[in-house]
């Protein structure tokens, strides 16, 4: 379904007509078939019930007095499963007991025999008009539900694209961190090896020199290898949902980032007062912490301060797991504090406005947590609060 004006409900109606008197049955059969599309005939209540189950009519017209099963008992049976089907009762009896019973069974009209044709036609018309409106409404509802599902799918797709973009940007940042860390030791190794040739030319090679050469060389190679290991243990692509320690995830980030941040004059600190575990995709919490740390780092850009620091605190307070990320970069402009988690909101030149939006989304939806931002006396202060896993017993 694409557009609401294409909604055209089915205009066909099936009527079940139950009447034991052959002559009346035949007379009405001719007239009714002119008024409606499909007519199903039964000669008593029992047959009527069978035909009802078989044909699933939209409307029932029935006599009361019939052999095998009378009309009212048939209606009783039908009403057990179908409270809504419109029923017209035709009866030769103007008795209040029948009428009351029929009303209790929720019939639509009670027509006295002999039934006038225009009377029946009028009643049928009012019922079909109502049924038609009902069908239209149902279709429209269905259409709306479809639209909602469609919109949700589009939204979800957009969001998963955002997560991918953010992930790609993150990998880019990590690679540049590694490149930065590798540059100096590589230059050093180059010089070390060059010197070997020079020492040989000057005939100054000694056993001590070679030992020293090996030690210096292997030390640097170990450093390079360790950097790579840290990156690999940090960079997980797993989407497995499991319980994990918040401290461990944070430590892995720190192992990888502490040195490179230090060379940029930013000290990265972690305080673990009480560790707690969360259930979800480890990688996503990592993305949250990384985004917050990176955000703080960006805030130091252009500031030449000697005491730049970012502190992550892990704790349990009042039965809630807490992760706090603080910096001393001066804080965030109070006027934009409320917009900071909005999609495509950014204050950075190269910012894409995805980072904090995703952070909030991941915290709220994936970990059922809350995130708040405020300014401390010295800088920005993010607090993340989580309900503890039932497995957490290390609270204090």
């Amino acid at each position: 379904m694409n557009s609401p004006d294409k909604i055209k409900p089915n205009t066909n109606f099936t009527v079940l007509y139950v009447e034991d008197q052959k002559d009346i049955q035949e007379e009405f059969q001719d007239i009714l078939s002119l008024l409606i599309d499909k007519l199903v005939i039964a000669s008593n209540g029992k047959e009527g019930l069978e035909k009802y189950q078989e044909a699933l009519p939209d409307i029932i017209i029935t006599d009361i007095q019939m052999p095998l099963m009378n009309g009212l008992n048939m209606i009783k049976e039908i009403r057990r499963n179908d409270k809504d089907i419109p029923i017209i009762v035709t009866s030769a009896f103007n008795e209040s007991t029948y009428l009351l019973q029929a009303i209790e069974l929720g019939i639509e009209h009670y027509l006295l025999k002999p039934v006038m044709l225009d009377q029946l036609q009028q009643r049928l018309q009012s019922i079909t008009t109502r049924l038609m409106q009902k069908r239209e409404l149902e279709l429209y509802q269905l259409y709306l539900e479809d639209r909602v599902v469609e919109e949700m799918a589009i939204r979800e797709e957009k969001e998963s694209l955002l997560i991918q973009q953010n992930k790609a940007a993150e990998v880019g940042q990590m690679v540049s961190v590694i490149a930065h860390q590798w540059k100096q030791p590589l230059h050093y190794l180059y010089l070390l090896i060059e010197d070997l040739g020079i020492e040989f030319d000057y005939q100054t090679l000694s056993k001590e020199y070679i030992q020293d050469f090996i030690k210096k060389g292997t030390d640097r190679i170990n450093f390079l290898s360790k950097t790579m290991d840290n990156f690999l243990s940090f960079y997980k692509n797993s989407t497995e949902i499991k319980s994990f320690s918040v401290n461990q995830v944070t430590q892995e980030i720190f192992m990888f980032l502490q040195d490179p941040y230090k060379t940029q004059g930013i000290s990265l600190n972690i305080h673990v007062n009480n560790d707690f575990s969360l259930t979800g995709i480890e990688n996503e919490l990592q993305q949250v912490i990384l985004n917050l740390i990176n955000n703080a780092k960006e805030a130091f850009k252009g500031q030449k301060r000697a005491d730049a620091n970012i502190t992550v605190t892990i704790d349990i307070e009042n039965g809630l797991g807490m992760i706090k990320v603080e910096d001393n970069a001066g804080g965030i402009d109070e006027t934009i504090l409320n917009n900071i988690f909005d999609l495509e909101f950014t204050t950075k030149k190269e910012g894409n406005g995805i980072g904090l939006y995703l952070v909030k989304k991941i915290v709220n939806q994936r970990f059922k947590g809350k995130i708040d931002i405020s300014n401390s006396e010295v800088g920005a202060y993010f607090i993340l609060k989580f309900t503890l896993d039932t497995g957490n017993s290390n609270g204090s």
């Binding site: 540059k183 100096q184 050093y188 010089l191 070390l192 020079i198 000057y202």
Partner: protein
């Protein structure tokens, strides 16, 4: 090559600094060392070296700013900047303005020596 010239070498990375000093000291007797631009500038004012070999990215004062400041009061001193690959666009500006020579990292010692030689004999060209 004049082995008696006074060289000021500025580099913040201790590893690389120590290693290059070890190599340079095989050929040059007078080597002054500084670990950032500010220290380099102070050393220059104090000792008036003939040649400056400097890294670019350093804390406190980077190599470019140091060279710029030195050029303001001294047009004679020779300067060689050492640059990483991704700083090349950066160096182009410096090259025209106040530093004529630069070599890329990792430092090829033969190239450095050729560069020192060219630099010292520039005035004879």
């Amino acid at each position: 090559m004049d082995h008696n010239i006074k060289i000021l070498y500025v580099e913040d990375e201790k590893d690389i600094r120590d290693q290059l000093i070890e190599i340079l000291s095989l050929d040059f007797e007078n080597i002054l060392v500084a670990s950032n631009g500010q220290e380099g500038l102070d050393m220059f004012n104090q000792h008036q070296p003939d040649l400056i070999i400097s890294d670019i990215q350093m804390p406190r004062m980077d190599g470019l700013s140091m060279c710029e400041k030195i050029r303001e009061c001294n047009t004679d001193v020779k300067m060689i900047l050492m640059t990483a690959f991704n700083e090349k666009s950066f160096i182009n500006k410096a090259k025209d303005q106040y530093v004529k020579y630069y070599i890329t990292k990792p430092i090829d010692i033969n190239k450095l020596y050729t560069c020192i030689h060219k630099c010292l004999h520039d005035e004879d060209d």
